[in-house]
């Protein structure tokens, strides 16, 4: 029985895939065995490095580049989120209010 699947997109053979998997696994285990074994579990050596500070309890993913902004501007963002209700009437009210403020500023400034 021929298990090989050959298409224009590529080549696939489950036996070859399984063999490759185990060969790579053996290589990985060899490299892993070369690592430092004198690791002290349950000490600072198993905690994340956070520039010498105590690492925050929440899990910050590496893709979250703006974590610092979100954390320290949280109050500001909360107001912004509240303003963006998704209701058109709210946006029109804001628009009208903004025009009133601009016109008042221009009038008081003597530009109108």
């Amino acid at each position: 029985m021929d298990l090989t699947l050959l298409t224009e997109a590529g080549f696939w053979n489950p036996v070859l895939w399984t063999l490759s998997f185990f060969v790579i696994l053996i290589i990985v285990l060899i490299i892993r065995s070369m690592g430092v074994k004198k690791y002290r579990h349950g000490t600072e050596q198993t905690t994340p490095f956070f520039s010498g500070n105590i690492p925050p309890e929440e899990n910050i993913k590496s893709g979250n580049l703006y974590w610092g902004f979100f954390r320290y501007m949280e109050r500001y963002y909360k107001i912004l989120i509240r303003m963006h209700s998704g209701i058109v009437n709210d946006y029109v009210y804001s628009f009208v209010l903004l025009i009133v403020v601009i016109l008042a500023a221009l009038t008081l400034g003597g530009l109108l």
Partner: protein
């Protein structure tokens, strides 16, 4: 001292504990093409978790005490500690200051002291090489 006898490259984590940056500039100078520390396999890394050695500058201010202890604890063993500059060695001009938790050897064990204000890059390279010998079990002998 024969650098051919050394088995592995040496990865170093640089920790500033309140230095004026004089020593830090000399460490950077040791990495420039004029001295080129990296040709020996010595390089600075971004985390103590990857380091064989800690290169510490500064007299250890009170704010940095806890952080210095934590960074030392996070460095895997075997590890060596190299102190660069008078401040880290003795406190230097900040000796017995109210705001000082150091010098460094008051907090963590130090293997090599490199005095100077700041020490020249040659002195830093020499100190690192001696520490490297100690790490690899040559006992720091010539």
């Amino acid at each position: 001292m024969n650098l051919n006898n050394l088995n592995r490259s040496l990865w170093i984590f640089h920790l500033n504990t309140g230095s004026c940056n004089g020593c830090d500039i000399e460490i950077v100078a040791a990495l420039t093409p004029r001295y080129d520390l990296e040709r020996f396999g010595i390089k600075l890394v971004g985390s103590p978790r990857h380091a064989d050695a800690l290169l510490i500058t500064g007299p250890v201010t009170r704010d940095m005490e806890e952080k210095a202890r934590r960074v030392y604890a996070q460095t895997p063993e075997p590890k060596i500690v190299i102190v660069v500059g008078n401040c880290g060695n003795t406190g230097g001009v900040f000796y017995e200051s109210y705001n000082l938790a150091g010098p460094v050897d008051r907090l963590i064990p130090v293997d090599v002291y490199i005095p100077g204000c700041p020490p020249r890059p040659e002195a830093i390279i020499y100190g690192i090489a001696r520490a490297w010998e100690k790490l690899e079990g040559h006992g720091g002998r010539k």
